[in-house]
């Protein structure tokens, strides 16, 4: 195993622990927006797809890359948009104004 893979495993392990600790604290009230937000963040896979398109190493990698960028970008845009719309709806009965 190369050192890059070992480093990757360490990063994965640490990120998974942070994920568990952070997400355990999310109020069940917000579980739906949480899922649409993680969905948008997960679409960071778009960076891998962008490189495939930009490098244009083969026809297959180029075509698949373009489709992948379209799919991931729609998740980024749609995911952030709907999360924001949902969160705007959550209002407290206690007025925030003094």
């Amino acid at each position: 195993m190369s050192s890059a893979l070992i480093n990757g495993l360490f990063v994965f392990m640490l990120a998974a622990f942070i994920g568990f600790e952070v997400i355990r604290r999310v109020s069940p009230l917000l579980h739906t927006p949480l899922m649409s937000l993680t969905n948008a963040l997960d679409a960071i896979a778009v960076v891998g797809a962008i490189v495939l398109v930009g490098e244009h190493k083969s026809t297959l990698s180029f075509v698949f890359g373009v489709l992948a960028v379209i799919a991931a970008t729609s998740n980024v845009v749609g995911g952030f948009l709907i999360t924001d719309r949902m969160l705007r709806m959550f209002k407290s009965s206690r007025p925030t104004k003094p």
């Binding site: 994920g19 729609s74 009965s93």
Partner: protein, 464 residues
Amino acid sequence: MTTDFAGNQQIIEIVYLIASALFILSLKWMSSPATAQRGVRAGEIGMVLAIAGTLLHHGIVDYKWIVIALVLGTGIGIPLGMVHMTAVPQRTALSHAFGAFCVTLVGTAEFYLRTPDVPRFMMAVLSMEVILGSLTFTGSLMAAGKLQEILPQRPLTYKGQNLVNLSLLAASVAVAAYLVMHPGARQLFPVMIAVPLLFGVLMIVPIGGADMPTVISLLNSYAGLSAAAMGFVLDSKLLIIAGALDGSSGLILSVIMSKAMNRSFTNVLFGAFGQVQPSAVAGQEEKTVRSATADEAAGILAAANKVVIVPGYGMAVAQAQHKVRELYDALTKRGVDVRFAIHPVAGRMPGHMNVLLAEADIPYDRLIEMDDINGDFPQTDVALVIGANDVTNPAARTDTGSPIYGMPILDVDKARTVMVIKRSMSPGFAGIDNPLYYLDKTLMLFGDAKSFVNGIVHELSGHG
């Protein structure tokens, strides 16, 4: 020129580091409604930075198509972000499919660029990426189809179903293992995609509507893990982190959902959903129910001090949440304390009821989780159940023979009076009879949720 390349690469890595930190903060700020919007901003900034940084990548020669694809994706994303709140579960399933589609395509492209020089560990994570990616792709499309009611919502089961599904999964793992040993066997790669694609379809076939919250969470977790695997293939720590966060989020939600349905987690993991058998025609003896009109219900509600409303998927189907808001207003104006009891699996995805009620402008501090409100039912004058069934079934506490025995429920039967809005006496999705309906303190309000609540509101305002 080489120094320039190296310089760019360092800038990209630093940008990715900042983006990773912003992603973690983004989820941290989701912990409460007060900071959640800041969380979305952090995620957006991280995303824009990461995409901008990627464009500095030295190998990129073609910017035109990147821009075209980004624009096309945005064009699809905007309508997907503007769907109605009742359509959020199917939208979420669809976006899991898109995410998995992207990961599978990138994995496939990387394989054909690199074969036959793929180190074993690399081939193993690449296999995991495309197997998880393709089964999540078709599985999520199936789930979205069922939620949108394009496909039949009824679970479809047949003999040996689990055996067929597990064999398919085993077959794809076997192909993956062969490819790890012989990464030059490029003709086998399509098999490693086709088999999980089929598995994804068959995995969702036996799933009914009530199991959707667990399934969506599980698909969420798969989508995250496949993205993390892609991070290993591309040696991108940013992707590993985002995938790990998404994977653990989905996993936590599936655990919460499966606990709320009293299913073991292995039961969920192996796709044995929807296997609950309806109990053999329970209780043949004649049982009587008491019913009431909107007028009578309004009178009882107006005389109450504390009312707890229990919404379920039936409320969403009837689009009754705005009428429920009017009822909330009318009762609050009369000085009645109205709260909402939210069961974790009410609705079609985690947190679904909260979003629907928030959309109807009901303040979120009135939405109370099961564990926090169950102790209050004995002091509650009226529990009003709207479109919920199994999550209020006292048989889950007492009847060891019931298929839902052991499932945590909302203790509405402990309230002084129980009112249930229901279309008819036919049992719910799981075909389980609900003894709650035959209690002396229970009044059945027969009718469509929306029009019945409207009737109560009308009576409350008319005789105000």
